[in-house]
Symmetry: D2
Subunit: 351 residues, 4 copies
Amino acid sequence: MGTERFTSEEDDVQTLYNDLADEHLQPLWELTGLLTHEPAVSTQPFRWSGRTLKKLAARSGELIPIDRGGDRRVLACANPGLQGAPFATSTMWAAVQFLNPSEGAPPHRHTPAALRFVLEGEGAWTLVDGDPLHMATGDLVLTPSMTFHEHHNPGAQPMMWMDVLDLPMVAALDAVFFEEGPTEQVDTRTDPLSSSEQHWGGGPGLSPVRHLGKNAAAPHSPLLAYRWADTDRALSRLLDSDSSASETTLRFTNPFSGGDVMPTMRCQMQRVLAGNQSAPRRQTGSQVCAVLHGNGVIHVGNTSFPVESGDIVVIPSWHTWQIRADAELDLFSVSDAPVLESLGLYRETAE
Amino acid sequence: MGTERFTSEEDDVQTLYNDLADEHLQPLWELTGLLTHEPAVSTQPFRWSGRTLKKLAARSGELIPIDRGGDRRVLACANPGLQGAPFATSTMWAAVQFLNPSEGAPPHRHTPAALRFVLEGEGAWTLVDGDPLHMATGDLVLTPSMTFHEHHNPGAQPMMWMDVLDLPMVAALDAVFFEEGPTEQVDTRTDPLSSSEQHWGGGPGLSPVRHLGKNAAAPHSPLLAYRWADTDRALSRLLDSDSSASETTLRFTNPFSGGDVMPTMRCQMQRVLAGNQSAPRRQTGSQVCAVLHGNGVIHVGNTSFPVESGDIVVIPSWHTWQIRADAELDLFSVSDAPVLESLGLYRETAE
Amino acid sequence: MGTERFTSEEDDVQTLYNDLADEHLQPLWELTGLLTHEPAVSTQPFRWSGRTLKKLAARSGELIPIDRGGDRRVLACANPGLQGAPFATSTMWAAVQFLNPSEGAPPHRHTPAALRFVLEGEGAWTLVDGDPLHMATGDLVLTPSMTFHEHHNPGAQPMMWMDVLDLPMVAALDAVFFEEGPTEQVDTRTDPLSSSEQHWGGGPGLSPVRHLGKNAAAPHSPLLAYRWADTDRALSRLLDSDSSASETTLRFTNPFSGGDVMPTMRCQMQRVLAGNQSAPRRQTGSQVCAVLHGNGVIHVGNTSFPVESGDIVVIPSWHTWQIRADAELDLFSVSDAPVLESLGLYRETAE
Amino acid sequence: MGTERFTSEEDDVQTLYNDLADEHLQPLWELTGLLTHEPAVSTQPFRWSGRTLKKLAARSGELIPIDRGGDRRVLACANPGLQGAPFATSTMWAAVQFLNPSEGAPPHRHTPAALRFVLEGEGAWTLVDGDPLHMATGDLVLTPSMTFHEHHNPGAQPMMWMDVLDLPMVAALDAVFFEEGPTEQVDTRTDPLSSSEQHWGGGPGLSPVRHLGKNAAAPHSPLLAYRWADTDRALSRLLDSDSSASETTLRFTNPFSGGDVMPTMRCQMQRVLAGNQSAPRRQTGSQVCAVLHGNGVIHVGNTSFPVESGDIVVIPSWHTWQIRADAELDLFSVSDAPVLESLGLYRETAE
């Protein structure tokens, strides 16, 4: 370990280089690759097959008890460009989590923010600071930074969903904190509707006066679950509003502020009608996408991934991407765009 | 006209007072009532009966053609405390507007912002910058500052609704501008769903990505209609979430920003369950309220108004008010609270 | 008193009008002057002569003891357009305040915000929540909403300055509150530098870390005095930066937020070089201006006022105004522009 | 390269692990060190001696022509905890830059933001988008993201200063863009005062009206130079305001918004009086500090660095730090706190 050592054929320069290395200094004029004309991206375009994820998660469910380590039965997507790190992109963790019937994952909390997206199945609950959120296909559930969260599956079928966390970013900022929950017991309540939705889920532009104050300081959405029925209807309405449109995109937003659901991750759902291609786009920052419905091809940079429902696809920063829908395709995506925007680093081109 | 003249029994002071008056100056030490310990409010607590409003509006509908003056058949609530001005409160205009079958009110726009609230009936349309908004009982429809708006009633029944405008406030700021519409023709479209709702009304926390940019600069909500079905469900959910609650209040908000629907007026709906009283409250700024459903009594300061659906009630600034619901009561209210808040002048006490 | 009564030659319409009046309703179609194409402004362009203000203030100083009423010896500018109200414009109070040697005005506070601008002389102090602010020619001193303030003159010469308050606006919003100070004694401290300036006056873009938190919630500037030496140097630098410029304008801003010094009033200083005219401008909202140095002519609407140092001039809403400087002219101005901007009602044209 | 492979003594688990690795998946229950109770920080506390930096920079000045690579003669501080990367902390680059008399570094621009702080000497200029900023001891000069910048030294003495960039953070976000300047020529203007300072440096709370609009969109300060004379006076005033204080800290802020000078880096200057210790503190995020004046000891975690003027010290995230001043000590610091704050990840404790 230590400072890299540079070499020169000139004796006095070599002496200088040695002295610099001894003092933990590096000569800029020998460094390359620091200030590149465009982003030098390690994250690779990649697809994890939904069928494979289901099979491997189920095998883990048979072989690995839930409490073996970390109280979570999770398979992490490890991007092949990231030197073996268990991260889907340079800034985001993506994984599938699997719960057998009657299993539960006890409460804990941490500074990295998480979200859960259900690609198939229903019947598990996530509790966020004690508020029970039912999980079913197409639902987005938030477990924001430093909220206690736990999961349980009271049903007869196993349940799997996708987790996305901003863990690599929070780790890069040296700001990871973690706490066990106040109890090791899993709270197995199965309320059909969370308090979060009772307060904030009544309808667009309808805010509960009594709960405005306590959300003023929170950096995340007070609405913790976004239901597929709403998302589906909203997508349909958007497409109905413009008969020439062959695609549309919704952003999941914080009803208290209108901004992103959490300060580090933007969540969107894009629908491309059968037989159409989305406009090619590229943007700074990376994306984790999951195919909820439909099939087709996702082009990312120079790679093309045939996709079907359940697949997870990574789009690295500044890579042009485009969707071709063979059957009507609904694509859920998570990106680090709010961070890039807040730092003045977001760029997007429609090509 | 001119500067007020003050008198003194001391000769040299009287000479000074005369000289001051000649120079359009007034001696502060002779003025009273400027800096009062609490607000000195001219607006009086008042109730306009819904039954009376309906009868008088219908008679106007028989006697007065829609184009007699200003292209609007409107009866303005004139608060008896305001020296004959046609204003409901010191800062707000409130009125009922009446359209016979097949009548229309052609487009115009103005800096004062307006909203329409339907207390009974359905079947008229308001078009805002050409976007047709259906109007039915319990709906709130916005016609923000400087948006062209027109109304028409294609049905077989007359239609009446309440208008609330910030006209007194905008006039006090010397900022009233008015323009006729680009055409005198009324647009008689009857689309069941507005573009505004197709884009922004899909569900709580669901924002259309393509329409985010163009709403960034607007100071008002991109969602222009708030439907009673949503409001009713949201109120029910809020009351369900707390079994000990006997009242609850929703705020209508701008889904793009989470703030009030327009910068000058706050819109809320309060439900008080039958047999209960709301907590007494008072606040700076005035309110125009309308009873949508139910009956009971509204106490305002030292006055008590028996109320039923259709009644309009004014709550002046810093007057304690309380609702007693004999039958479950839904009260729609408009206030100037966003202005007081933005200027640091809002105070509220729950007593 | 009560609702205005309208008349008609048609009997049944007259009956309707009578019934409307009885019910405190007014027919919109008979009303005029409500929605005007451009603002209908009562405030008139006006100038109060500085020489006259000085003479009359001095006579008041001889004749009227400071404690005769309200503990302030103040002459209020009463705009001849405002029906005898003691207001300079529809939204602002302007006045001169006079203190004899050794006199003091004891502490009080109120929701209307005030500022003091010194047109000539020096040697008085204003204390804001106990912090002593020295007052000298060209200084701007703030006494924000609900801060206790008191004045005293320890010197050998009388002292006069201009007061501007947002009183008409706060009164129109029914939000005036007033409190006597905790003591009737005037605090006669004469510290040369206020805490406010020690904390926030060190230089442009230099903020005290320990004082950031407690200013986060305040709607007004933590810096309470803006010194002429700084303002003069800043104006000179601005003019130096553009050799073709014949005028320039500075805005006094809140160093904590970059915004206006108080939420209701914008303060600016404009310098026009000798022999030049400023560009003609008009804007919504009214202005109170005071000539600090120089002389020339101020055109407002169709009126032209010859001005010299000490004069106070009112520019009503939407009136074109222009300055001709015979000698280099420094014009201090206060406007209600922050209110109009926050409500989406600000318009400005350079003609 | 590729996904890390895990091992198990159970055959079927080992088979699962192999299959997971083949599919670029990792089992969370085998991973450790991801969610730590407190930040697991690689950046080490470190000090680079100012005397050594000066000597090595001067030797580079003799041996290395300015145009050898990258047009900048820069020695980068390489933190020994960061595996040979040329970064001072996990999020910040720190370096010294050296210019011989008559040398210049031609214009370029990049998304990583930079600042320059002069620890000793004077007489070079940095031009930012063509605006010439003189550089002298104690001055802070900003070259914000995507502004063209160049340097030249017209004097008779060599000149050295410290550079700090957010390069590691921008690289971690895959958002580095770089462009050569429009010309390879260095602009050798030597104006004594920049336009930036003429417009925005006039005094605290004084903003140029004509330049407000064009700065509204910029995420960085329009004031590009903060002069030592101002900083010194402001520190003195702060200490004068509280006779019991033995230390004080100023933040360099954006006069347009009151916020940090750039969205990624917070700049502060702390003064500790001779014979005193600062309060121990710790916070999330890292800091690069430079001793401008004085000497003493800086404790960081379990390490204590004797320091004197010219030294550069790194404080890693969540390490307690404290300053002991033997002679009155002025410490300039740069941190990533604005990023942590905007993401809801900032924590600070005074111990």
